[in-house]
């Protein structure tokens, strides 16, 4: 089993004719993903790696029955593309695009929720259900099917950690890159709930970083989850971020730092790795 995405998911690639879109469509196909359609306005009728291209998500869904979409379109056009996909009826939308103004995401996320569409990202590496399917940009070769679920706010750091898990002889169920932006479709505690409910996932690895309070909220949630959870938090030595006026202090109440997050995880009985690959050591020890 896996969460969110499996070999039956029918995926649209929005922005398929761009450099990134083409490259990652190839990699997703190679991983066994059912990429059924591409969308680039004005390029309907073309093909990319044998995948038919449509002018709109509506046409793509009509012709192929697609139920998920991955978005590679540039930031200024991302909101338009996201709303179009949601309106066309996809149930899962993975937004890879980075640098989208968060005011656009303030519109996209509640709209998606109201329409029953799950959003992952933006500014994220996507989802990989090991051995089944990939809607994202994670390297294929680092995964091996197994029983560990992974949730991460980061991109390359996720690869580093998944690689360490796999090299240690373990394997993954689904790896969810939730994205590093302030406004994201699926939060860390929500992703934790998804993996907690998944029968195939026996243990969960959480990769956080400084800023915001999502790790603290995740730690609180972790107390109610029976599966073993392990964490790594990046940014112990990062320079203090810019201060968001007094408002920042009023909201964060002292949370947001690496120390606060590590303390919260430890208080919830979640072991925290001192460095990324130590996750593998922790998994071995328990």
């Amino acid at each position: 089993m896996a969460v969110l995405l499996d070999e039956k998911s029918k995926l649209i690639v929005q922005g398929i004719t761009g450099h990134q879109g083409q490259f990652h469509t190839r990699a997703m196909l190679d991983y066994g993903t059912k990429v059924v359609a591409g969308v680039t306005p004005g390029k309907g009728g073309e093909q990319v790696h044998g995948v038919p291209v449509f002018d709109s998500c509506f046409e793509a869904v009509d012709a192929t029955g697609a139920n998920a979409s991955i978005l590679f379109v540039p930031a200024p056009f991302a909101k338009d593309a996201a709303i179009e996909a949601i309106e066309a009826g996809v149930r899962l939308l993975v937004m890879i695009t980075e640098r989208i103004p968060f005011h656009d995401c303030l519109d996209i996320m509640p709209y998606a929720r109201a329409k029953g569409c799950r959003v992952i990202g933006p500014n994220c590496p996507g989802i990989t259900s090991a051995g089944r399917a990939k809607a994202g940009i994670m390297p294929n070769h680092i995964f091996r099917p197994g029983d560990i679920g992974v949730i991460s706010r980061s991109g390359t750091l996720t690869y580093e950690i998944v690689n360490a898990i796999t090299n240690a002889g373990f394997g993954e169920t689904t790896c969810i890159g939730i994205g590093g932006d302030p406004i994201i479709g699926t939060s860390m505690p929500e992703a934790l709930d998804l993996l907690a409910k998944d029968k195939a996932t026996k243990r969960i690895v959480v990769v956080g970083e400084i800023g915001g309070t999502t790790e603290e909220e995740t730690a609180k949630r972790a107390k109610r989850i029976m599966k073993p959870i392990y964490a790594y938090v990046a940014g112990r030595t990062a320079p203090p971020g810019r201060r968001m006026g007094h408002a920042g202090a009023i909201i964060s109440k002292g949370m947001g730092t690496a120390e606060s997050k590590i303390k919260a995880f430890e208080a919830a009985g979640v072991p925290v790795a001192a460095y990324p690959t130590e996750i593998a050591t922790l998994l071995r020890a328990n």
Partner: protein, 368 residues
Amino acid sequence: MKFYEYKAHEIFRKYGIPVPRGVLASRPEDIVDPPLPCAVKAQVLIGGRGKAGGIKFAKTLGEAREAARQILGMTIGPYTVRQVYAQEMLDIARELYFSITIDRSARAPLLIASATGGMEIESVPETSIFKTPVPPLVGLQPYVLRALVKALALPKETASQVSDIARKAFALFEGEDAELVEINPLAVLKDGRVVAGDAKLIVDDNAEYRHPEYADFPQDRTPLEEEAHDKGITFIQLDGDIGVIANGAGLTMATLDVLNLKGGRGGAFLDLGGTDDPEKVKEAFEILLKAQPSVILLNIFGGITKADTVALGVRRALEEMHVNVPVVARIKGVNEDRAREILKGIGYSADTMEQAAELAVKVRAGGK
């Protein structure tokens, strides 16, 4: 994007929010008809200017010019003061607090207000602070404003002005792609008027393309950071002496952490992002070299990034700048063997990021 105080006031004024009158000057003699009495304030992008002597009070034109003379050219933190703002002194009866920022968990703008503002705001008990998310798809409805003024127990004529300012501030928050709109104090004057005593504005950097008019405003960056920003490179200068270059924010932070764990200190860090274009890598590397690190720790985990073209960029930068800084490289990605070949002779290679960090600390100490 941050803004100088005078500029933030100008934007607030554009949205009809009352702010104190003021004049901007880059030379004392530019102050001709200041509102009197006034506070002459250094225009810098960091806090603590009052303590540094960057705010002085004046009752006459002569005093205002003298204050400007003293403040202009002053160094506050890493900045030299180039401009002062002579601002009307307000006759304040009461200080409130108001701000709008984002609530990440609620995925909504968040209004924050308190009946006690000013310097004390961060010690106001949480129960006395009014906080409410605004449903983003429908925007600010009047009921939110009614709840706000009721929570603050404001007298009627103050309430209507506060509510009006809150509404305009929300329009500003949306219209300018703001991350933060903060008014502290929101001043109730002795004559009953309500004025934004101070105006703080931070605009989402990712929305820069929608606000080209702000593109040229100076930000709180060092000259090297500014150069990097102009080239679209994420680069931050730190206190230590080991230059760190990695791809992705999370991995860059993790690399700094591991370096620290091994006894080293990051001196500057550069996030290469997803690029493996040798020219772009070269450009980035040149900026890092200008920060004069003792050692460079390169940590790339690509998967899809081409390791050899990254290595090529590194090599070209070192050759063209004729510098001899040892490079400790850990590169994982496509063609990583070829990358090791390219970097032979200019540095050391490591398999894992822990090994690389350890090696960098050794090389720095001259032990290798």
